[in-house]
Subunit: 148 residues, 2 copies
């Protein structure tokens, strides 16, 4: 089993994509995160869903969730305020979370080894610099386990 | 929006569940992780998919993925060897990753605040000690974002 046989097509956004559209992709497709590419299609960062949530919640509420009740805005209004007119670039953590990548002819054990080491929920499969697809943890397990 | 209105039913395993069955659940249901409960149904740990992968890959290959090619066993044979006859308890990391929990009447902002703070892909919703359901990051975003 090679990496490109396990890779799936996956929604990808660029650094300049609309922040609200990207957040919606995570919600509607039930994804653990998005791969962010540069203008040339090369993967440059992962945007985990939890990072989008961090971006929406004010730091003082993250530190003390009991303060959540004093927040006057609704969550949807807050999300609209924080995300409208912003790009994906603005939501990324600093420093950026690098995209773990494997080559298309890497073996399933090599993919598993990288995933185990970096504890990432997804790995990008590349050929040269371009994206072939993505392998999630659950996809890997689908192929790694003996048939029932 | 209250936590129990967002909560979903979610496959749950106990500490004594079969390790291979639990790993298969992650693969077939495309889940980011499982909630592990004790015999009374109280959540005691999260089993992330990446932890199962860590359990399958020998430490020396995690440290140096180029050694993956010297591994004689196939991934499926290795998974069968490592998981057969084991319980979920044996796969959990030490120390265990605690399950972040919210009460069923907590607000969406309180759920988001906790999720942001602990960077967990899922939160258990409890009533007393028992599980009501689970909220994933993507589920939260589904409710947190303004309608398109």
């Amino acid at each position: 089993m090679r990496a490109d046989e396990m890779a799936e097509e996956f929604p990808v956004v660029t650094l300049d994509s609309d922040a609200l559209d990207a957040a919606r992709l995570l919600g509607t497709h039930r994804l653990p995160g998005l791969v962010v590419t540069d203008a040339n299609g090369c993967p440059v960062a992962i945007l985990p869903g939890s990072q989008v949530v961090r971006f929406l919640v004010p730091p003082y509420v993250q530190d003390d969730p009991t303060l959540a009740r004093v927040l006057a805005e609704s969550m949807a209004d807050r999300a609209a305020d924080k995300l409208s007119g912003k790009s994906v670039r603005a939501m990324l953590p600093t420093p950026r979370q690098e995209v773990p990548t494997v080559n298309r002819d890497d073996t399933i054990v090599e993919v598993a080894a990288l995933m185990a080491r970096v504890r990432s929920p997804l790995i990008a499969v590349v050929d040269g610099g371009g994206m072939v697809g993505v392998i999630t943890v659950s996809r890997l397990l689908e192929f790694a386990l003996p048939r029932a």
